[in-house]
């Protein structure tokens, strides 16, 4: 099964689980249809569509099997090499930023995040490189804080642990 089939199965499973959960929803005496009426339509439709996706993937898979293996191998080899570890690390750093934000506060967490993220995406070379990353972190944290808190009256998170 290809990625379409896997995605279809995942969506099918999720929509069926949610559909079962809607059966517990109580109807309201105020309106002719209860809170579960529309979700059931949406989830039923999603389940049907994802089932269609799985079936079409299985049919396509059968067709692909009948194709000459050379063509498939060429298509796979033509794929660009992508840096997934960097994507995973970048997501990880951002997730840590989101988790640390309420504890450290906007200014400290943003400074740390920008320095870390910049270092992950383009590892600094020597002291000058690190100085550049730190400056970027400081400027981002300070300027965004200044603009949003002082001029646009948007209150940014204060740190539970740092009170800053």
């Amino acid at each position: 099964m290809s990625r379409d089939g896997i995605a279809g199965l995942a969506v099918l499973a999720a929509s069926l689980v949610l559909f079962v959960l809607t059966l517990d929803l109580q109807d309201s005496p105020m309106v002719p249809v209860g809170p579960g009426f529309y979700p059931r339509i949406v989830l039923g439709l999603t389940a049907l569509l994802s089932l269609g996706l799985v079936i079409s993937d299985c049919l396509a898979q059968r067709q692909r099997r009948s194709e000459p293996p050379v063509a498939v191998a060429t298509a796979v080899a033509a794929k660009e090499r992508l840096n997934y570890p960097l994507v995973a690390i970048s997501f990880g750093v951002f997730a840590l930023y989101c988790i640390a934000l309420p504890g450290l506060g906007f200014r400290i967490a943003t400074f740390a995040y920008v320095v870390a993220s910049n270092a992950v995406l383009a590892p600094p070379r020597g002291l000058k490189g690190w100085a550049g990353s730190v400056t970027l972190g400081l400027l981002t944290a300070f300027i965004t804080w200044l603009v949003f808190e002082r001029y646009l009256s948007v209150l940014l998170p204060r740190g539970r642990w740092t009170q800053f």
Partner: protein
């Protein structure tokens, strides 16, 4: 109408509106010029800055980004051969060869002036049609709105480049997001999955920011760290000076090309969520088909640049018509604008122009004035733009994600929206990797509540479900939805058959 428009222009020319419009336009031009940074991303970055502004100030800034971004994308297309954004891809086909042949100034300014003309012709359509279309929409009952939103979703799902099944599943997934949390009619809790954060439902803006920002940034990040292709750019010292009168004459001497490309841009803009990327390719293709010298396309012909650039700026006007008359976002950029309207407590849809005439005509005026500002910015700073595009992505991306975080946080001053941003960032990236289109998903998230509200209202008014089909407008809209899906299926099979024929022909 003209009085209101005149008042709108006078209003927008006041410093308090002109400054955000100028700043937005400048950011748009820079964002549009930066390869890998789309207009959607730029407008998401600008969004949090608009929270503390008046509605017209914020919307002016966003319109400035939209107009500036559409024009800015052509700079790198012409001078570096790299489209600054997807809607400038077709500009590259002739803009870069013309620049390489020693006429970079001509290539650039043909694009800029064609953008201005296309945009201003689009303004005529925007001002003339939004009011009448909104008046038609005012006659709609819940049956018609339900059918209209279903039509919008089915068109988007059918017209996206990925498979129809994936487009429909993506739209349905977007609608699932709206059923989590609470029922919009009675406010009853439902499908909270035991997560307290879900009890109030999920705001669409953090979802939109997360999905688009991460899908794009992570798609760029996955290409980082490898060998970089050498850019075959036009030399930096080369002169970009041209006779503007000559360039303008070169464009207006092709009135049919200009008008047809503008029309294509407008028509694609009015259709929900297709966007400028389709408009510029279609306009380029049409210009080539109607040209007496189609063989010259791709070698640096002015027609290619004019068609692409006139259409992508007119596309902005088309998208604004759809959002202002019907409350349906024409693309991701107008979806963010819809969010900005909601934040300021303004209900979009057919009543918008009646209840907020000053704001609506202010938006029209901002759209027109933004074109003049784009021209002024590029007259002064076109050369600087080439330096700005050299900003490393490793510097840009963390800053963009910090601004996205602020945008999500500031919606309700709670961390829950930041967590929604993170979750949907992962989800959006996964969607891209599994080949699901994002546009139907976002439209599903935006329209899901409205579809439910109108469905329930219709049933509460009259429980007869056949009314959806027997009421003329509602019935026609539903027939159109089915027709658009049937068309998508037919197109899909025709394309498969064509590919099969081509493969056979190789033997």
């Amino acid at each position: 109408m003209f009085e209101l428009l005149g008042a709108g222009i006078v209003n927008v020319l006041q410093f308090k509106y002109l400054i955000p419009l100028f700043v937005g336009t400048l950011i748009g031009v820079v964002g549009g010029a930066l390869p890998g940074i789309t207009i959607t991303m730029t407008i998401i970055v600008v969004l949090p800055f608009t929270f503390g502004l008046e509605p017209l100030q914020g919307l002016s800034a966003m319109i400035g980004v939209y107009v500036g971004g559409e024009t800015g994308g052509l700079i790198t297309s012409c001078l570096l051969g790299i489209p600054g954004k997807p809607s400038a891809v077709a500009t590259t086909f002739d803009g870069f060869p013309m620049a390489k042949k020693g006429e970079p100034g001509r290539a650039l300014w043909l694009g800029i002036w064609a953008s201005i003309f296309g945009g201003l012709l689009g303004a005529v359509f925007l001002v003339a049609t939004t009011g009448p279309l909104a008046r038609i929409a005012l006659q709609f009952g819940p049956w018609e709105f339900f059918s209209l939103f279903v039509l919008a979703l089915s068109m988007v799902a059918g017209l996206v480049e990925a498979s129809l099944a994936k487009g429909l599943v993506a739209g349905a997934l977007g609608m699932i997001v709206t059923i989590l949390g609470n029922d919009p009619v009675m406010g009853q809790k439902r499908l909270t999955l035991g997560i307290p954060m879900l009890e109030g439902g999920i705001d669409f803006l953090p979802v939109l920011i997360g999905v688009f920002a991460f899908a794009q940034i992570m798609s760029e990040v996955e290409r980082m760290g490898g060998a970089h292709k050498a850019i075959d750019a036009v030399q930096r010292g080369v002169s970009l000076a041209v006779s503007h009168l000559k360039i303008i004459l070169e464009i207006v001497s092709r009135p049919l090309l200009l008008l047809w490309s503008t029309f294509i841009g407008l028509a694609i803009g009015v259709l929900p969520a297709i966007g400028g990327s389709a408009a510029n390719m279609l306009a380029y293709d049409q210009a080539k088909k109607f040209s007496r010298h189609p063989e010259k396309f791709g070698t640096g012909t002015p027609e290619g640049i004019i068609a692409s650039e006139a259409s992508n700026n007119a596309n902005v006007a088309g998208s604004l018509v759809t959002i202002m008359a019907f409350g349906i976002p024409g693309d991701a950029v107008t979806a963010v604008m819809l969010g900005a309207l909601t934040i300021h407590g303004i209900q979009s849809g057919p009543l918008f122009i009646v209840q907020n005439a000053t704001l609506a005509y202010g938006m029209f005026a901002a759209y027109i004035v933004a074109h003049a500002l784009v021209l002024a910015i590029l007259l002064v700073g076109v050369r600087w733009m080439l330096r700005i595009v050299e900003i490393p992505k490793a510097t840009l991306f963390p800053v963009v994600l910090v601004l996205c975080t602020i945008g999500a946080y500031a919606l309700s001053n709670t961390m829950s929206n930041v967590y929604v941003l993170l979750v949907f960032g992962l989800f959006g990236y996964a969607m891209v990797k599994f080949g699901f289109p994002l546009a139907p998903f976002i439209l599903g998230v935006i329209l899901g509540d409205q579809i439910e509200i109108n469905l329930i209202r219709a049933i509460m008014t009259d429980a007869n479900p056949w009314l959806f089909l027997t009421r003329p407008i509602s019935g026609s809209l539903l027939v159109l939805s089915v027709a658009s899906l049937a068309f998508a299926i037919w197109q899909h099979y025709r394309q498969r058959a064509r590919v099969a024929t081509e493969v056979e022909a190789d033997f």
